[in-house]
Structure formats: structure tokens, C-alpha cells
Symmetry: C2
Subunit: 329 residues, 2 copies
Amino acid sequence: MKDEFSFIKSIIPNHIQQQSLRIGIGDDAAVYESDSSVDQVVCVDTMVEGIHFRKDTMEPVQIGRKALAINISDLAAMGATPRFYLTTIAVPPTWTEDHLREIYRGMSELGKQFKMDLIGGDTVSIEQSLVITVTAIGTVASGSAIKRTSARKDDIVFVTGPIGGSAAGFDLLNERTKDGHFSSNELSYVKMHQEPMPQVELGELFSQSNQRMSLNDISDGLSSEIFEIAVASNVQVILNKAHIVKLSPQLDVSLEKRVKWSLNGGEDFQLVGTTSAEQYEVLQKQAKAIGFSLFPVGVVREGKPAVFLDDGDKELPLEMGGYNHFKRG
Amino acid sequence: MKDEFSFIKSIIPNHIQQQSLRIGIGDDAAVYESDSSVDQVVCVDTMVEGIHFRKDTMEPVQIGRKALAINISDLAAMGATPRFYLTTIAVPPTWTEDHLREIYRGMSELGKQFKMDLIGGDTVSIEQSLVITVTAIGTVASGSAIKRTSARKDDIVFVTGPIGGSAAGFDLLNERTKDGHFSSNELSYVKMHQEPMPQVELGELFSQSNQRMSLNDISDGLSSEIFEIAVASNVQVILNKAHIVKLSPQLDVSLEKRVKWSLNGGEDFQLVGTTSAEQYEVLQKQAKAIGFSLFPVGVVREGKPAVFLDDGDKELPLEMGGYNHFKRG
């Protein structure tokens, strides 16, 4: 990089969106006001080149976007409203300053959609692989964050949209690269992989409802996410295969593959939750009123934590194939 | 790593120190209470193997410790009290699970000293270099964070302890590795590199004093840190060479080398600040009352932002050799 100083200047936001921000980029740390009506919600995720993304399947602008989206999705899974983010990037010599600008542009564009301010970070050198870490901060009404521990017997298990689309898109990209030719139907799945949209509005709706529910975001595949809820809540979940098929990628591949994408694919950034049948009806109406929808995919029952797939005839125990190794929090 | 699940369990703190924490590690994001009497202070820093640390100069436990120390030092430079941290590590195959445990132990031990809770993170794979990113969160009384913009004509420029020790220690380590033989005097500098101590108590004292002052932590060398203050405050700083020599490493090398370590070395994690002569006397007394000391190293005057070294005869303009490339915030 020829001129770090002008680069840094170029990524500093020229106006802020969050009025609570007192000190943004440019001092040792960022400072913002807080108050007792809200709890602070914070998460962090790291994406590594070659592990979580590749230059041949995603544009730099999409890589930046996704690094922030992953974290916004974690905030949404707590019912929080996104406020701020901080970004550190370790840049190898194979990435140009233009690439880097594009990464920041991707974050900035998505951040703006949710009125988030970039308030800090660090840009360092590395020999080989690009590494992006984003820390995201949000707020939720005091005591209203939605945990994984609240699933109860007879709850309806629901998701907030199609699942497995990101995995299907990745399969297509892996086969043809980002410069390949795709039909418009295929392209919709490619975009689900490259530009997934976190479900902030629904997360906010859920936390504002102040009803008992459990919630997770689908970053590691439906089966592993619902398994986390089952473990945290000490219940069993039975997923309905027919329902999942309807939400799975509508591509001309085997049914088995489509279901596998939906169960283990991950990175859809839809939410998966459980709540009582009565509350589900209420939430469904509220979701539709703001242009969203909930989709039932299973039920909760008592028993040692486990997840089963009901194919109409029998219940198959699901192995946690999508379970994200190393992942905490 | 053979068993990620048990590893993750092993690094989850078994009790919390901050009573405001509602949800720690184990959900999509951490959640803690806030109130309007304090501002939130947040920063993030990344350390890359081969760039910021090496296995032959630092033990894994010291690498972990330092990754947190860097961030605590940034909080201290705002006058904040540390509260929480989140850690992401990208681990190459050359690092064992035992190494990783040691890294977390180093963070945990330093975190405990400042009653900080580990509340989230991510552990991922990488091909080549280990990368650690720590996000640290603190609080400061509402409106009391100390900025870089408040230096004024005739201020005294002070530091909170010896400077250049970390650079001297790194020189020794670079020459002999961490397993080399060192005199006890040499070892004290080696330790300043391997186990630097952020100046949290003094930062808190400064913000509680509620007096006009500017403050920075010495992570990139005194000359670059005071230059940041000079630019942010639109003033000139004249550093006194004789004073700096007294604070520089007491090793049998050229005076020139000692001064260079002090001016450009960095990673000392002492604080550098400016305040009026009257207020300096008050703060000095308060610092001594809690077992610390301030050391004058220069003065502030009007003029186009610049830093000079006064050697008794003349003023030499300092080039910003220690200026940290790529660094923001």
C-alpha cells in the first residue's frame, strides 16, 4: 500500500448515524453513551481466506459485506438492534489497496442499511491469507435478549425463510467460479451465498414481543443450530422433512442433496426459533404486517437433547454434520 | 485439535467478575447491562505471527497476555475501566492445542487482574500464521473519556514510566531468543517486551480528575504517540533529551541507541499525556498516593503540529519513524 494515511482517511465515515456516538475512529478507543433502558449486545467473528471465502467465488465487496453480515445475524438472533462495528483486517501482499477499499465498501453499504457506524479497527500485514474480524455491537431493551434456553415441549419450530440456498449457491460457484454463467434461478442461490441478508427486523420484532421463545441464527446449518437450542433447552426437536423440502433450493438435483443443503449448509442467516403454537400465530401475523413470513419446520418434545428428521414414515436421528468446529458463542 | 468441544469448555470462565453481565459465552452474542452514568469504551487490535510476535521470542502464554494488554492499554488511554473482552484466534496446524490453552491462560490471567470477563469469540483454522484479535470493552464516567485533542500551549508533557524498555528487550530476544541467557538487568527489559503492564490505575485517576488533559498510550513509540497528540490538538511538542535519557533502558549500549529505543520503540504501554503545570502537580501527588509516578519529558507550545527533540543546544525535528503503518483508532 502506497499511502496508508490516505487509505485510512478514505474509510473513515464522513458522518455518523448513531447519535449516541461520542468518539469514533481516531483515538485509542471509541466511546458511546449508554443508558439503563437497554442492554449492550456484542459479538465477534473471523473469516479466513481459503477457509471461509475465496477470491474465485466472491468479489471483495461481497467478502466485506459478508464479514459484517455474519455478525449482524448474531445480533439479530438475540433480538438486538445493530449500532456499531469495528473491523480488523490482516492483508497479504496478494491483495491490492483497491481490493481493500472494496472490502470496506461492502461493509459500509450493509452497515448503512442498518444505520451502523464503523467506530474502530486495525489494518495489519500478513504473509499469506487475508483475515477479517468484525466486532458488532447492538442494543436490546433491558432484559429482552432472546436466548437458546427457552424451547419447551409442544413448541413450534420455525424458520424465517428459505434454507440451504447459500450452500446451493456455493456448490454452483465452486463448480463454475463467480465469473461462470448461471440461469436466473441459479443466480438467486449464488446471491444467497454471496450476499446473505441478516434478519434484523424479525429479531427486533421477536424481542419486542416479550414472549417466551428460543432463537438462533442459521450460520452453521439448521440441524446444528436447532441442536444448540435442543441442548441449551434440554429438549428434543423433530424436524419435518416435507416442510424442509419446500424451503430447500429449487434446483434440478436429487432430493437428498437439497435436504442436505438445508440441514447442514449454513450461512443462510435466516433465524430459527421455537415458541408456543398460540404465540406462533401472533408472531406470524406481526411478521406478515412488516413484509416477512415464518415457516414451520418441526416441533419440540421432551427427552434427552437430540434432533430427528421425520420423513413421514420414521424418525431419523440427525448427526451434527454441520456443527461448526472450534466455534464459540 | 482432537476435541474442540472440550477445548471450548475448558476456556469458558467458570465464574464471572462483572455483575452487569447477563449472557456470556454460549449464545449468539454476549449481553450486559448498561446505565446512563457511564459511557461505553471499545477497541480492537490484531496480532499476527511473524509480524507482531514470534514463537522464538515469546511464550504462548505471553502472546495471549500481550494480545489483551494492547487493548487494555487503549482503554487506559481513554481513562476507562476495563470490563469485558472477546477473542478470535486463527490457528495454523503448527500450533498445538496446548499452545492454544496457554494463549488463553495468558489472557485469562491478565484479565483477572483487571476483573475482566471473556464474553465471546471465535476459533478458526488458517494455513500459515497465527492471528489473534482481541476486542476490549470498558466504561468511563459519562463524558469523562480523555481525548488526544486537549493539549494546550505551556502544558507539561509527561509519561507514566520507563520508555523504550520493550524495544530493548526485543533487541535482546532477537539476538538470543527467549531461551537465551540474560543478566537480571537485561531480563527486566526482556520482561518489559514479553509482559508489558497497561497503566489502568493511572488512566482511571486521570479521567476521575476531570481536568483538561490529552492522553495516549505508548504502543507505537513516544515520538509517534506525542505526534498524534500534536496533530489532534494542533500544537507543537518539544521533548527534552536529557529527561528521556533518564527514562531510557539502562543498558551498556550507545546513548543514541537508548534514545532511539525510547522515541521509536513502542509497546511500552506507558501513558503519555499533557496537562497544565498546576494540574500536573496535583496529579503527581495523586499518582504517588496510589504507588505510581509521573515523569516530565517535554513541553507544549503553539505552532504547526510537529515534535522536536531538544538536546540542550538545539531542537531537532523528529521524523515519525515509529509511526504505525495501517493503524487506525
